[in-house]
C-alpha cells in the first residue's frame, strides 16, 4: 500500500520580493493530521509561506499542492473556492468584521465559502468559546482573548481540512495562550483538521513539534 498523499506538498518553492529571496524550499511535506509549528525569526518568511499555501500569494517559482490540488495552476476564482472550502485562516491581526455581530461573523464565513447556513454549528461554536450568550454583540465589545477565540471559531466553522494560524498567541498571557491552543487542538481533532501555526512564541514549542524552521535570510531547513 502506497503512503497517503501529503496534505501539503511544496516542490522547488522559491519566492522573491523586490529581487530579494524571501523563501527557498526544495521539498516540504505535511501529512494529514500532522499538527506542528512553523518557526523562524521575524522577517524569515513565515507569513509569506502561509499565504502561499493558502493561495493568497503566488510564489515566484515552484509547485504548491494542497489537499491534492495544485494551487499555482488553478484559476484565481477556483483558488478562492478551494480556499473557502478547505482552508481556515487565523490572522495575527484577527481581521474580524466589526460591522457584523459575532454570529454573523461566523455566518459570513459559511456564506462566502458557499456552505449552506448552519445556525446550529454557529451556536455550538459560540458556546464552545464561551460567547454563546453574546451572539448579537459586536467584535469591538469583546476582550482581546475573546476576539482571538472568535477568530479561531471563524477559521474552523466550515470544518476545513487545514487550519493555518499566524501568530495566534503572541498578544496573550499564559492562561489565555494555553486555553487558545487547547481550543485549536480540540477543534482540529473534532474536524479531522491539520493545524499549522506560524509563531516565534516559545510557549507553544512545549506543546507542538516544529515542522519547519525558517532561518533568516530565508533559507528553509527541515526540523
Amino acid at each position: 500500500m502506497s503512503p497517503p498523499a501529503p496534505l501539503i506538498h511544496l516542490r522547488g518553492l522559491h519566492h522573491r520580493v523586490a529581487g530579494r529571496t524571501v523563501l527557498d524550499l526544495p521539498d516540504w511535506r505535511v501529512a494529514a493530521g500532522e499538527h506542528g509549528l512553523l518557526l523562524g525569526p521575524s522577517g524569515s518568511g513565515k507569513t509569506t509561506l502561509l499565504q502561499i499555501i493558502a493561495g493568497l500569494l503566488s510564489p515566484t517559482a515552484g509547485q504548491v499542492m494542497v489537499a491534492g490540488q495544485e494551487m499555482t495552476s488553478l484559476d484565481e476564482g477556483v483558488r478562492d473556492v478551494v480556499r473557502g472550502a478547505c482552508i481556515g485562516l487565523v490572522f495575527q491581526q484577527l481581521h474580524l468584521v466589526n460591522a457584523l455581530t459575532l454570529a454573523d461573523n461566523l455566518r459570513l464565513a459559511q456564506r462566502l465559502a458557499d456552505y449552506p447556513p448552519d445556525d446550529g454549528r454557529v451556536a455550538q461554536l459560540l458556546n464552545r468559546i464561551g460567547l454563546g450568550d453574546r451572539a448579537h454583540a459586536y467584535p469591538r465589545q469583546l476582550s482581546q482573548g475573546e476576539r482571538q477565540r472568535l477568530a479561531i471559531a471563524r477559521a474552523v466553522v466550515n470544518r476545513p481540512a487545514l487550519v493555518l494560524a499566524d501568530e495566534p498567541t503572541s498578544a496573550l498571557d499564559d492562561g489565555n495562550c494555553t486555553r487558545l491552543l487547547d481550543l485549536m487542538l480540540e477543534q482540529a481533532a473534532e474536524n479531522d483538521a491539520t493545524l499549522l501555526i506560524a509563531t516565534h512564541d516559545a510557549r507553544l514549542k512545549t506543546r507542538l513539534p516544529a515542522r519547519l524552521v525558517l532561518t533568516a535570510p530565508a533559507l528553509g531547513a527541515v526540523a
Binding site: 476564482g77 473556492v81 472550502a85 485562516l89 491581526q93 459570513l108
Partner: protein
C-alpha cells in the same frame, strides 16, 4: 443578493455602522434631487396648465393697464382685473368680421374664495366643460359650478348660495341676490374647475345692488341688506360692463389688424395671451433656473460626497474586503459589494428626494392658495423624475467605479499582512 449577509444585507450593516456619514450623504442627495424634481414638477404642471388655459384664445380685450395683468386676471383668474370695459366693446367685437367668437368675462365677486364669472355658455364650451350633473346656466342668478368648487364648497344641484364682494374671501355678502346651482361641471384640468359660472346679467344685478348700497354710504358693513334698501335698488339700472372679452380670430389677418385697431381707436386694450405667456415664462424661468442650478449643485456635491465616502469606507475596509477574499469570496463578489453599496446610497437618496419633492409640493399647495389656483397636483409624476432615478444610478456607478477598481486590484496577501 438577499439575506443579512448577501451584498445588500452586508452593505446595510456597513451603512448602519457609519450612520452619520450615511445620513449626511443621503440628506445631501435627497435635497438636491428634491430641488430638481420639485422644479420639474412645478414646471411641467404649470406649463401644461398655462398652455391649456390659454389654448384657442387669440386675444384678450379689457381695460387699459398691464397686459400681463389683464391676461392673468381674465384668462388664469389669478390677479385682480385692470378694470371694466363697456358692453358696447363686446357688441362691436361681435359685429367685427375679423372675430369668430367673443366671450365676455365679468368679474367682481367670489364664493368661498372661488371666483364667480359672469359669461356665456361659450366660455365653458371653449374648455370643453360639460355638466356632469344638472345643466348649463341660462337665466340670471343661475350658476353652474366647476368640479373643484363643488367638491370644496360642498355644492349640489338645487343649492343656493350668496356671493361675497371681491375676489378674496371675507368680502361683504350679497345676501339679497343669491345664486341657485343648476349644474356641476365635470373636471377639465383647466381654470374652469375652480370657477362659478353664471350669466353676465347675474353679475350686473348683484353689482347694481351693491353700487347703490355703497353710494348710500351708511356704513353698513355687516353684509346684511335690509328690506328698505332692497326696495330702493329694485328699479336701478345695472352698469352694463364686462371685465374682459376673450376673442378668437376669424382669420390670420385679424392678428395684424385687430390689436392695433383696438389699442388705438378704443379706450380698451388688446393683449395677446401668447406674447404674455412667453413673457411670464421667461420671468418664471429665470427664477426656476437659479433654483435648478442650486439643485444641480447639491446633486453634484452629494455625488462627490458619495464618492469620497465610498473611497474612505473602502480605505477603512480594505482589511474586511481582503478577509472576505480569504474566506472564499471572488473578486467579482467584492466589486458587487461595493456597487450595491453605492446603489443603495444613491437609490435611497434619490427616492427620498423624490418623496421629499412631492411632500414639499403638497405642503406648498396646502399653504399657498396661489399654487392651488394654478392647479398644481402634488401627486402627479413628472417624466423628469424617471430621468432623475436614472441619474441616481449613473451617480452611483461613477462614485463606485474607482473604489471598485481599487478593490478589484487589491493585493489581498499584502493587505492581510499589514497591521
Amino acid at each position: 443578493m438577499t439575506g443579512t449577509l448577501g451584498p445588500v444585507g452586508l452593505s446595510l450593516a456597513y451603512l448602519r455602522q457609519n450612520r452619520l456619514a450615511t445620513a449626511l450623504n443621503l440628506l445631501l442627495l435627497a435635497l438636491g434631487v428634491a430641488a430638481i424634481a420639485g422644479l420639474a414638477l412645478i414646471d411641467s404642471q404649470m406649463q401644461g396648465r398655462l398652455t391649456r388655459d390659454v389654448a384657442g384664445i387669440d386675444l384678450v380685450v379689457g381695460a387699459k393697464g398691464s397686459p400681463l395683468q389683464l391676461i392673468l386676471s381674465s384668462v388664469y383668474q389669478a390677479d385682480v382685473p385692470t378694470g371694466n370695459v363697456p358692453l358696447s366693446t363686446l357688441e362691436d367685437l361681435r359685429r367685427n368680421p375679423l372675430v369668430r367668437e367673443a366671450i365676455p368675462v365679468a368679474l367682481g365677486d367670489s364664493y368661498q374664495g372661488f371666483r364667480i364669472v359672469g359669461t356665456t355658455p361659450d366660455y365653458p364650451g371653449h374648455y370643453q366643460a360639460t355638466p356632469a350633473q344638472g345643466r348649463m346656466f341660462g337665466a340670471a342668478m343661475e350658476a353652474t359650478v366647476g368640479a373643484t368648487v363643488a367638491r370644496a364648497a360642498n355644492l349640489h344641484v338645487g343649492d343656493s348660495f350668496a356671493g361675497s364682494h371681491g375676489l378674496t374671501p371675507g368680502g361683504e355678502v350679497h345676501a339679497h341676490t343669491p345664486y341657485t346651482v343648476v349644474g356641476i361641471l365635470a373636471p377639465t384640468g383647466t381654470v374652469v374647475d375652480r370657477l362659478v359660472l353664471t350669466p353676465v346679467e347675474s353679475v350686473w344685478a348683484v353689482h347694481a345692488h351693491h353700487h347703490h348700497h355703497d353710494d348710500d354710504g351708511d356704513g353698513d358693513r355687516d353684509g346684511e341688506h335690509d328690506e328698505e334698501h332692497h326696495e330702493e335698488v329694485a328699479g336701478a339700472q345695472p352698469p352694463r360692463e364686462v371685465t374682459a372679452i376673450l376673442v378668437r380670430y376669424a382669420s390670420p389677418l385679424a392678428a395684424a389688424r385687430l390689436p392695433r385697431a383696438i389699442n388705438s381707436e378704443t379706450g380698451a386694450q388688446a393683449a395677446s395671451p401668447a406674447t404674455e405667456l412667453v413673457r411670464l415664462m421667461s420671468l418664471l424661468g429665470a427664477g426656476l433656473d437659479a433654483f435648478r442650478a442650486v439643485g444641480v449643485l447639491l446633486v453634484v456635491t452629494s455625488a462627490l460626497g458619495t464618492f469620497v465616502a465610498l473611497t474612505n469606507a473602502l480605505q477603512q475596509r480594505r482589511y474586511d474586503l481582503a478577509v472576505m477574499r480569504s474566506l472564499g469570496a471572488s473578486r467579482a463578489r467584492i466589486v458587487l459589494q461595493i456597487t450595491v453599496e453605492a446603489l443603495l446610497v444613491s437609490g435611497g437618496g434619490t427616492l427620498a428626494g423624490l418623496l421629499l419633492a412631492h411632500g414639499g409640493l403638497a405642503l406648498f399647495v396646502a399653504l399657498s392658495p396661489k399654487a392651488r389656483d394654478f392647479g398644481i397636483n402634488p401627486l402627479m409624476v413628472a417624466p423628469a423624475e424617471l430621468g432623475l432615478l436614472g441619474l441616481g444610478v449613473v451617480v452611483a456607478a461613477v462614485a463606485a467605479a474607482l473604489p471598485a477598481i481599487q478593490a478589484y486590484r487589491t493585493d489581498v496577501a499584502r493587505t492581510l499582512a499589514q497591521s
